[in-house]
């Protein structure tokens, strides 16, 4: 079969990224232009600022990717973009640029769901077998999904309130750690001990998650200690928090794998770059004899390679979009 090259564009949040992916699993070239330095100034992502930077960078990032791959736009078999979910203004820059390329080269336009991209980050340089259970952990999502095949998504459970990445960011704020909060909490936790008592999180029969309670608990704890004139040990609190939310993830995932008798597990999403979470889930999978896949860390945070990998699945099923496709801020994998 002829090789398929897809040029993919990701611009859903604060990374302008372009990749060229061969046959859905080979990363020919990936460029990620992160705006993190700019947003650090504001303590978080400012949507209007993000959109402005995407517009300024988009063609340069496309060009850089083509140069790195030593390929030209006319070599592409399809053009893919993230169209949902994410920040509308940011998504639109990538969506419109990709439409223009699809129109000029008369090649399919593949509008790709960002969350599907996170899942298929596991396909880069890897082969998957189905059925499997996928756990997406990111700043906006905490979802347990059963996949009977490569394009079927059954939601087993989701967060009822905050996403896990959101909880990390909020606890970072409570501890006065700089943006990006999540990775800083992880860093502090590394040299801490789980000395602070944490609440038992939603130990019920469902596969749903909840992270707002523990965030409030951390907030109250810090306030109370301050009022008593005690210093908070940031390392220990970060460690206590991380242990608690990780065991919540591990428990629910383990229960789902056992109940559905699934032998393959995928971890994905930006928070999948967290080593403690990776290792804890891996230990659980080893214990119950489940094969675990997780993307290399560089494919966990937002990148266009995963969009290209997911777009290849859509390409095979001829799920193309026309030029009237709009960006959407909220969407599930089944919309």
């Amino acid at each position: 079969m002829k090789d398929v090259y897809i040029l993919a564009v990701e611009s859903s949040c604060d990374e302008t990224s372009v990749s060229i992916i061969k046959n859905g699993y080979e990363d020919v070239a990936t460029i990620i232009n992160s705006q993190i330095d700019v947003h650090t100034k504001y303590g978080g992502v400012v949507p209007e600022v993000a959109s402005r930077l995407h517009l300024e960078n988009i063609t340069m990032v496309i060009n850089e990717c083509l140069e790195k791959a030593n390929m030209s736009l006319s070599d592409m078999d399809a053009f893919a973009c993230t169209y949902a979910p994410g920040l509308l203004g940011s998504l639109l820059v990538g969506v419109e640029a990709t439409k223009a390329l699809s129109f000029i080269y008369n090649k399919p336009l593949i509008a790709t769901n960002h969350m599907m991209g996170h899942i298929y980050a596991n396909m880069i340089g890897n082969k998957l077998s189905y059925p499997l259970i996928s756990l997406i952990v990111s700043g906006g999502h905490t979802d347990l999904i059963l996949m009977e095949s490569e394009d079927s998504f059954k939601y087993l459970g989701s967060t009822l309130d905050d996403a896990i990445g959101e909880a990390y960011d909020k606890v970072a704020r409570i501890l006065d750690l700089p943006y990006p909060g999540g990775p800083n909490v992880e860093k502090y936790a590394q040299s801490g001990k789980p000395t602070y008592k944490m609440p038992q999180i939603m130990n019920d029969e469902s596969f749903n998650f909840s992270f707002s309670g523990i965030k409030s608990h951390c907030n109250n704890l810090v306030h109370n200690e301050h009022q008593r004139g005690h210093e908070i040990n940031k390392n220990d609190l970060a460690c206590s928090f991380q242990n608690c939310v990780t065991s919540h993830l591990v428990d629910k995932t383990k229960k789902a794998l056992l109940q559905y008798n699934i032998k393959t597990f995928l971890l994905s999403g930006g928070v999948a770059a967290n080593s403690f979470i990776r290792n804890s889930l891996k230990d659980m999978c080893d214990e119950i004899g489940v094969e675990m896949h997780m993307p290399e860390k560089k494919y966990c945070t937002d990148n266009a390679a995963m969009i290209g990998a997911a777009a290849y699945v859509l390409y095979k099923h001829k799920k193309f979009s026309d030029l009237s496709i709009n960006a959407q801020s909220h969407i599930t994998l089944n919309d």
Partner: protein, 182 residues
């Protein structure tokens, strides 16, 4: 062949000028510029049997106006100019209105929910009041209609050197809140 794109307000305008013929399409849209703009451009080419490979220039309105609207037109325009390796020129929405309505000293005004974007030109199309944003409109010139004449705009820009598509950016005029704080 020249492609013109304006998405800065609720009236999307796209046009193709091929030799002496001007093909133009417009569409009213409040929040759906993404749905209409690229299909309108596609239909300009298809319905008139024209080939995108014959384009040699793009003119795009880069604001002021709706931030999201502007970015939709600009994302398309700069990507097309980059991919086709052709010329690109930007023009401000205020100047585009002034050029489209020649005459003596005159101003163009774009109103948003908090104030006015204003610009003025004289009879020779020389800018006499540079673009600015204000909560009040104090300029004492007759105001032009917010209507575009694509032929006049093409004529006005004909001697302008192409911009680098990578550096084509929006002309927001107005600062956003976080910028005021910093």
């Amino acid at each position: 062949m020249i492609l013109f794109i304006d998405t800065h307000d609720e009236l999307i305008t796209v046009a193709l000028k091929n030799n002496d013929t001007l093909y133009i399409k417009t569409k009213e849209s409040e929040y759906s510029h993404s749905i209409y703009t690229m299909p309108l451009i596609e239909s300009l080419f298809k319905e008139n049997n024209l080939d995108v490979k014959d384009l040699n220039k793009i003119i795009v309105v880069n604001g002021p106006g709706s931030f999201t609207g502007i970015r939709i037109g600009l994302s398309i325009a700069k990507t097309m100019a980059f991919a086709l390796n052709i010329d690109i020129n930007t023009i401000s929405s205020l100047k585009a209105y002034l050029i489209s309505n020649p005459g003596g000293k005159r101003k163009s005004v774009i109103e948003d929910n908090k104030g006015y974007y204003i610009c003025a030109m004289d009879e020779n199309n020389k800018v006499i009041v540079d673009e600015y944003y204000s909560t009040i409109d104090n300029e004492d010139y007759p105001v032009v209609e917010n209507k575009l004449d694509v032929d006049l705009i093409i004529e006005y820009l004909k001697n302008n050197k192409s911009e680098d598509p990578h550096h084509v950016s929006a002309n927001y005029v107005k600062k956003i809140e976080v910028e005021h704080d910093k």
